[in-house]
């Protein structure tokens, strides 16, 4: 793909930044929803290329960061049961639960396997017919269809030893919740490119109608800078519309095939976001029809409520109300090798991204 290097071209990036800084008059705040964007912005020092009139804020779009501690505790309790194999994406392994992470559980002898794909978890169930395999489904609209496809596959194979815990979350309800919280004033959203591959433009229409400019954005430095340019143009011209910068992959209507599979298996439910709280309709639960594949039905586990780690301000960071440098534990007691909060665990988490690229971000 020869255009990839162009989307990383420092000269082009610099020229866009110059243009942005020339045309921007009004001070404005833009939130990047997605952890992948947070990572690109930190890695390439994009904030420092822009005039101080432009404030870039991280949002709640790192799935590892917003998965509440009780879900980790639940998976960890399941992993402790005899004859259960817990299958998870690698990102979740080190997230602290209230007592232990899945990695620590594994060191104690629990059977926790890292899978690349939800189908790997189905295969694990097929090759271990005498054990129960529980797949930990986390992520937004980008990974929820894959979990749904695994449920459909297990169902068509008649597998009795495969089930999922769905900690999946969806984008439109959380955007609505953030915009109505009144905690910060947003002029624009750098909308998540890959979530939008699935959803299309629909989730952002409401935000645009409320006066927030929206640009669906790719993940290279030039993508982000072009999106900021498009946002600044909207703000300066008094427009708030949904535009697609990432048109090489995103279509207006999204991906109807993936949406159909997701809707067939999952129904919306209220969901708890770490540091934000319960947001109505923002989670996905396995529908009644497929309840045999819902590990919440198959295993009877109740857990005590959990508290967030003392001193950690992940919650405010995920809401765009604070930045990692505001946390007294940042880079002191809390580092990627010994994380206190979830935002330091994931490479897409705002705290880890800021920690890793402090002082040496470059294009």
């Amino acid at each position: 793909m020869k255009h990839r290097s162009e989307y990383r071209n420092p000269l082009l990036a610099g020229a866009i930044a110059d243009r942005i800084n020339r045309i921007s008059r009004k001070p404005c705040s833009f939130m990047e929803f997605c952890g992948g964007h947070t990572l690109t912005i930190a890695r390439h020092g994009i904030g420092s290329m822009l005039s101080e009139r432009i404030n870039l804020l991280s949002g709640p779009g790192c799935p590892v960061c917003v998965t509440p501690m009780e879900e980790v505790d639940l998976m960890s309790a399941l992993a402790g049961l005899p004859d259960v194999i817990v299958a998870t994406y690698g990102d979740m392994l080190r997230v602290p639960g209230s007592k232990a992470s899945l990695l620590e559980r594994r060191a104690e002898g629990a059977d926790v396997r890292v899978v690349y794909s939800s189908y790997d978890a189905v295969e694990l169930a097929m090759s271990n017919p005498h054990r129960q395999v529980v797949f930990f489904g986390i992520g937004f609209e980008t990974t929820a269809p894959a979990t749904a496809a695994a449920v459909l596959k297990a169902s068509s194979l008649g597998l009795e030893n495969f089930s999922v815990i769905s900690a999946h979350k969806t984008t439109p309800p959380i955007i609505a919740a953030l915009l109505s919280s009144g905690e910060m004033r947003l002029d624009g959203l750098v909308c998540p490119g890959h979530v939008s591959v699935i959803t299309g433009v629909a989730p952002y229409r409401q935000a645009a109608a409320q006066g927030v400019s929206c640009v669906i954005t790719g993940f290279e430095p030039v993508d982000i800078l072009q999106a900021v340019l498009m946002l600044v143009e909207q703000v300066e011209q008094g427009r708030s519309e949904v535009e697609i910068q990432y048109s090489r992959t995103v279509r207006d209507e999204g991906n109807p095939r993936a949406l159909r599979i997701m809707e067939r298996v999952f129904a919306p439910v209220a969901s708890n976001w770490r540091g934000i709280g319960v947001v109505p309709g923002s989670g996905l639960e396995v529908r009644e029809q497929y309840c045999a594949f819902n590990a919440r039905n198959r295993f009877d586990i109740t857990l005590p409520e959990t508290d967030e780690p003392a001193g950690c301000i992940c919650g405010r960071i995920l809401r765009g109300a604070a930045s990692p440098a505001d946390c007294p534990l940042f880079a002191g007691r809390c580092t990627p090798t010994s994380p206190v909060g979830a935002c330091m665990v994931s490479s897409e988490g705002a705290c880890q991204a800021h920690f890793r690229f402090r002082g040496h971000a470059r294009l």
Binding site: M1, A149, H194
Partner: protein, 76 residues
């Protein structure tokens, strides 16, 4: 996990494809892609599933328009 990666389709067998990511091959499901996928196409892959085809012409056009908008030479 949320970081989708573009890769090139090298081989297709039914609903599975061999996709090359900068030297490494992976088996990837095509079940979630809405349109037709052919060998040689670039696809966006998340956690073992291709989610969409990447439109190379569109990528080129976006860059061209961007360069015009900021007043850079457009010939490459």
């Amino acid at each position: 996990m949320c970081l989708g990666i573009p890769g090139r389709v090298d081989k297709i067998e039914g609903e599975m494809a061999t996709v090359e990511f900068g030297g490494a091959d992976r088996q990837v499901s095509l079940e979630l892609v809405p349109g037709e996928v052919n060998v040689g196409d670039y696809v966006l892959v998340h956690a073992g599933f291709a989610l969409e085809r990447i439109d190379e012409d569109e990528a080129r056009e976006t860059l061209q328009m961007l360069k015009e908008a900021i007043g850079l030479e457009t010939s490459q």
